[in-house]
Amino acid sequence: MEQKHYDVIIIGGGPAGLTAGIYLARAKAKTLILDTGIIGGQMVLTHQIANYPGIESTSGYQLSTTMKKQAKSFGCDIKSNINITGLEIEYQAKAITVNDNQVYTAPAVILATGGRSRMLNIPGETEFKGRGISYCATCDGDFFQDKEIIVVGGGNSALEEAVSLTRYASKVTILHEFDRFQAFQHAIKEAKENPKIDFIMESHITAFQGGEKLEKVTYKNLKTGVVSEKNIDGVFILIGYVPNTEMLKDTAVKLTPRNEIIAGEDLQTNLAGVFAAGDSREKRYRQVTTAVADGTIAALSALEFLHNLKSK
């Protein structure tokens, strides 16, 4: 068992965590970023970012690489693709166990775990991932040239991606659980006016079937209860995001009913020395710019917390 002490540990290396890392390391706080996946978070999922001020247009990958380089240049330690197997953040000395055999301790922790695509969690979904089921229209659209597909969802990304998928697919059916869409009017209008797009409303997919590839879906009308089948080549699942806060369920950190972290204006949670930043906390607008702002505030609040702790 290996043990190492830091001033601040940041959980999550998306734009929020990386920004906090830049500010803390630059202020000479000993800082560690831990990430279960790739550094950059959802930013890496973005082919093009055109609304990050100061940079006309860049790829999410490029922006992530630069932020990571910046944090490292100030001395921030970064570990990616790790597994957090223990989390004790209730007391003044906080401890995080990684891969069962390394323990990192610190008086302050910043939670910046972001969010991820929601899955349907129904039979066949995992089996046919990459064999007809996709979560990324820009990645896999061209495999569906002249094929029939379904887009599940009713938000902006579902409607916009459905329209863009008509460049490849012969027919796109949007399947949505409600009787109306939660999207901008222009996105709804564009989808409704597209001759290649059809709609199945108030329905849920209940199963995916096929052999080597996806061939068929079963879906149920939620109002009438009628169950139908549809032959299909592909299904794109674009049903929004969930906050990555599962690991906090057994801690005393306060969450909203939607499992978002609750934090005050200084971004401290209900636990002393535990801060939250980025998409994983309760807030209205989730963007790279707002994540970066959160990372700044959480870092500065954590520095103040450390200062007060020392002068006590």
Binding site: G37, I38, I39, V44, L45, T46, H47, S59, G60, Y61, S80, N81, K129, G130, R131, G132, I133, S134, Y135, C136, T138, C139, D140, F143, F144, E212, K213, G234
Partner: protein, 114 residues
């Protein structure tokens, strides 16, 4: 276009068969610089140290020579990037479509390329 990773790239079909001929264990990730592919390259870069007996390579999906991967019978039903192929003594022992987690990749490496 080239892949901006720190992995060694496979440039063409000839290089592909050279790699298979000269190495017992080979993992090739064939993709683009997209959100489903980047995490897989990242994991491969990290696993190089843990699996010194495995040759880790990537190849650009849009390279015409990537037909050596795209047209594999094992990839017949694949419709998600990246296509990742594991070779033992030049033979395909496992192939996956779309993003995979570090656990999934490690499990395959331990099972097939040890």
């Amino acid at each position: 276009m080239i892949l901006q990773t720190s992995l060694k790239h496979i440039a063409d079909a000839e290089a592909h068969s050279e790699v298979l001929k000269n190495n017992e264990n080979v993992m090739v990730c064939c993709g683009r610089m997209g959100p489903m592919c980047l995490p897989v390259y990242d994991i491969m870069e990290e696993l190089q140290e843990e699996f010194p007996q495995v040759e880790f390579r990537d190849m650009l999906f849009d390279n015409p020579h990537a037909a050596v991967i795209r047209n594999l019978p094992e990839a017949r039903s694949f419709m998600g990037l990246p296509f990742t192929v594991y070779y033992k003594n030049g033979k395909v022992v496992e192939a996956t479509s779309s993003i995979q987690s570090k656990e999934q990749i490690t499990e395959i490496l331990n099972r097939e390329l040890n």
